[in-house]
Symmetry: C2
């Protein structure tokens, strides 16, 4: 069963690589799952980092995957009417997004009436697609699972690994990537809102969101 | 000041992309830092995922960087005598590693007498380079900073962001990548050693480590 990670220009690499590392490790324990990275056309794809990504296949070579995983990034906002991308996302039995990738699921018509999440700075934008925005690390509603911003892709992928192959396999994947996070910065006594607000404006402006 | 991420064949992408996402975000707040991804030669580099990476520059085009960041992966063990790579690593004012990347720092002669860490499954291998192996999320000793396996690159990069630009900038980076991890799998009542031992053997065997 194919787990197809979708690659498009100006993606945020960590959105894609976090869950790809987790679910590719899963596939070594459960070979009935195969991870692929697919783009509309073969060849290099630019990102928001000084790093170019090249997938392993194309949309047409991996039709109707079991699961599609859609990362986010500033490029998301330029691909909300990308017919080939939206059609491919709709062709999967299950859809998963990380960060602003949920807006692509919304644009594909997959979030209508469903609880969903996204990067905190754009969470309200999900409403435009009929979704019910929820501020959670990840949300499953029927065949659609959406995760919060960037690093949340690791958490949701471990959750999916547990669902697909059981807790002991997922724990071995967690051990393999040594996922015992220790975020070094505490928030005690910090005015978080004062840091969030300019960042929210900067991120939304960079995305071309003027609301 | 250049922060150069080193790319070599069969790298583990999350080792590289986690800290690259963090330190590139840092550079948007502090433009005196520039992140680059360098390989010995230009062009695509295979990884342990169905994903190929292309850096932004080469060793010779970014000489004597301020900081070098060395990811790990199964390819590490094939590059412990790679003269161009070891020479480049030695040319930096500061060296950082993620996962088995610390073995490359060791092979470059940077760990002699220094406290250092690595992926838990190969931590003891650091002793061959005169290092003092410690099981911590990350360790700084003089100009050398080493992190534990794969996902630890995000933690160490946020620590470096705090050191380079202060806690408030690092917190904004942490917000930008929404790094509020929620590993879904608990260890309560689980025989962790029983899961670790076969995984340790499998990882060491895949790396060609027969000790």
């Amino acid at each position: 069963m194919d787990i197809a990670f979708v690659l498009y220009p100006e993606v945020t690499p960590l959105d894609l690589v976090g869950p790809l590392q987790v679910l590719t490790a899963l596939s070594t324990f459960e070979p009935s799952y195969r991870t692929v990275v697919v783009s509309a056309e073969p060849g290099p794809v630019a990102t928001d980092l000084p790093l170019t990504l090249v997938g392993s296949s194309t949309f047409s070579a991996v039709p109707d995957p079991y699961m599609v995983v859609v990362p986010g990034g500033l490029g998301t906002f330029k691909h909300l009417a990308d017919a080939a991308l939206l059609s491919y996302v709709r062709s999967a039995s299950r859809a998963v997004s990380v960060c602003t990738g949920s807006l692509i699921l919304g644009a594909a018509g997959l979030l209508s009436g469903r609880r969903a999440t996204s990067h905190w700075a754009v969470l309200d934008a999900l409403g435009a697609y009929g979704a019910i925005p929820v501020a959670e690390r990840w949300v499953s509603d029927g065949p659609v699972t959406t995760a919060a911003g960037v690093s949340a892709g690791i958490d949701v992928a471990l959750h999916l690994a547990e669902e697909l192959a059981g807790a002991d396999v997922a724990r071995q994947v967690q051990l393999a990537i040594e996922y015992e996070p220790e975020p070094p910065l505490a928030w005690d006594g910090v005015d978080r809102a004062a840091l969030e607000e300019p960042l929210r404006r900067a991120l939304r402006s960079a995305a071309g969101l003027e609301f």
